[in-house]
């Protein structure tokens, strides 16, 4: 009986009360615009991983887009929450029950429609960002779908416990612990491992590719400016995983060519002892290695390191 008698007065109160939607919308709109401008102009240029390479700057752009889209959503929740706490708080002497809640088709339709638009837009945006940025710096496997046009500098990254080494097949296939890359040239990383699983993570370049034994994982990037590159292993790979990092450098094209040619000559005697350049290195198929192991008396056969009673190669 009490509910029936209170319903008309509530409806009358709603029609004559404040426009809650507008009172929430206006501060939200102001805050959202201010937040998005701050994110894009002030915070955005400092977002990881920076803008040292094409893949890094594209990742930074993507994170800025995500942040600009997420901030209004988060602010709407916070503004609504604050408004509810202030306007609909319990007041002294008000012991009346709140009005019964019913579905609101307009609110639900708006919410579902906006959410769908945001999610589908991000799906399309993310897909385009993978295609147009040549894989966005991630390992694409042995047969990359997205690749840059024109010539590339090939650099092989070899993971091993607990150091990365790098081979430059276009400069005689020399191998070195120094990662040196040129500015303004597409780089084609071929990432592999000769023991356990590692992950090649060149932070400032926005390049991250798993290094798996027997797998050639390809990633692309183009460096925008000179500087230092931090390389870390991003896959737990044993006792000294935490110490598996080094620092590379991006230099001008001329400086790179001079370095590569000089290193090729300097390491010629070492290169002569390496197996021919290959996309992967399986100890069981490297002729010189198998021969050495047989000569050393290892009875695993077919180049296996240890006898069959020991664990075989992965």
């Amino acid at each position: 009986m009490a509910a029936e008698s209170s319903a008309p007065s509530q409806q009358a109160g709603e029609s004559s009360g404040p426009n809650h939607g507008l009172r929430i919308f206006i501060p939200w709109l102001i805050l959202a615009v201010v937040a998005d401008v701050l994110i894009w102009v002030v915070w955005g240029p400092h977002l990881p991983p920076g803008a040292m390479s094409s893949s890094a700057s594209n990742q930074q752009f993507d994170i800025k887009i995500m942040a600009v889209m997420a901030a209004p959503v988060m602010l709407f929740v916070l503004v609504y929450f604050a408004y509810a706490l202030i306007v609909w708080r319990h007041r002294e002497g008000d012991d009346e029950d709140g009005p019964a809640l019913h579905g609101n088709t307009r609110v639900q339709a708006t919410w579902i429609t906006l959410s769908s638009i945001i999610v589908l837009a991000l799906f399309v945006f993310g897909t385009v960002e993978l295609v147009t940025t040549n894989g966005a710096g991630a390992g694409e496997g042995a047969s990359p779908i997205w690749k840059p046009s024109g010539s590339t500098l090939q650099v092989q990254v070899i993971g091993q416990q607990w150091r990365f080494t790098y081979r430059y097949p276009q400069f005689g296939g020399f191998e070195t612990t120094d990662l040196v890359l040129p500015v303004g040239q597409w780089v084609e990383f071929h990432v592999t491992s000769i023991d356990v699983i590692h992950s090649f993570w060149a932070y400032q370049l926005g390049v991250k590719a798993d290094a798996n034994p027997g797998v050639d994982n390809v990633a692309y990037t183009k460096i925008n400016n000179t500087g230092s590159i931090t390389v870390r292993c991003a896959e737990l790979c044993g006792l000294w995983h935490g110490a598996m990092f080094d620092y590379g450098r991006a230099v001008s094209l001329g400086a790179f060519v001079a370095w590569a040619r000089g290193t090729e000559v300097h390491l010629a005697s070492v290169t002569a002892q390496l197996p021919p350049y290959s996309l992967t290195y399986d100890p069981t198929t490297i002729a010189q290695m198998s021969k050495a192991m047989v000569a050393a008396g290892f009875t695993g056969g077919n180049g296996l390191y240890y006898p069959p009673t020991d664990p075989a190669q992965p």
Partner: protein, 236 residues
């Protein structure tokens, strides 16, 4: 049970619990692998020369894993061989290192590590003969490496030339004693490098997959302090 017996039981139980706790603390927390101190009495950052001596053996007969290959470090004062891979050197000093190689050969997985880097002149002396590169795939040449990645040091360890199948010809009781090379074959590797001026613990490792019985040969002694990996502590 009488009152004295109950009190005695309580005291014994209390002492037993205390003893177990003390053992756990001493053995697992305060105990550990000894650090051989080569920095005592040396003024750091003066390029003073410090002579560090190690040996690598085909096994060790002093631990619970006697079939694991292992390094040993010589105590600088007593000259006794200690089953550890931790040693301490002064910062900014010239480290003259001697390593006795008693173990047989195992090919490197990556022959790139056959080159000598990070030493003065990028050279090591094997039985007095200088080497810049040793090809582990051309014969029974390399047993292990001594590598400190933090200072780009890599030195392949030559072998007495014996192969795995005749391992009984190698030193069979650790720590091995350098002496009559005909009785117990070994090689002597000598090289020098400068310790960093920055204090810290610089890990070192072997790059030959010599952890027989483990996946890719890189388990067991390769991942255990006190066997084929350790650290060089630099102090000033």
């Amino acid at each position: 049970m009488s009152l004295p017996a109950r009190i005695s039981l309580l005291v014994v139980a209390f002492l037993a619990v205390v003893a177990v706790g003390a053992f756990v603390v001493l053995h697992y927390f305060l105990g550990g692998i000894p650090v051989e101190d080569y920095s005592a009495g040396v003024t750091p950052n003066t390029n003073a020369t410090v002579h560090v001596v190690l040996q690598e053996d085909p096994q060790n007969t002093v631990s619970s894993k006697p079939d694991w290959v292992s390094y040993f470090v010589q105590n600088p004062q007593t000259k006794a061989w200690v089953h550890t891979t931790l040693f301490q050197v002064p910062a900014g000093s010239k480290i003259d290192m001697t390593i006795y190689g008693f173990d047989g050969c195992t090919p490197l997985r990556n022959n790139f590590w056959g080159q000598v880097t990070g030493t003065i002149g990028d050279v090591e002396f094997v039985d007095g003969k200088p080497y810049h590169v040793i090809n582990s795939w051309s014969g029974c040449n390399v047993g292990h490496t001594f590598s400190i990645p933090g200072i780009n040091l890599n030195v392949p360890m030559a072998t007495p030339g014996l192969i795995q199948s005749v391992k009984p010809g190698l030193c069979g009781t650790s720590p091995c004693e350098p002496g009559d090379m005909k009785a117990v074959p070994y090689r002597v590797m000598q090289f020098s490098f400068y310790s960093p001026h920055t204090n810290g613990e610089y890990f070192w490792q072997c790059r030959v997959p010599c952890g027989g019985g483990f996946l890719t040969g890189f388990g067991g002694p390769m991942q255990t302090l006190g066997f084929m990996t350790g650290y060089m502590k630099v102090v000033s």
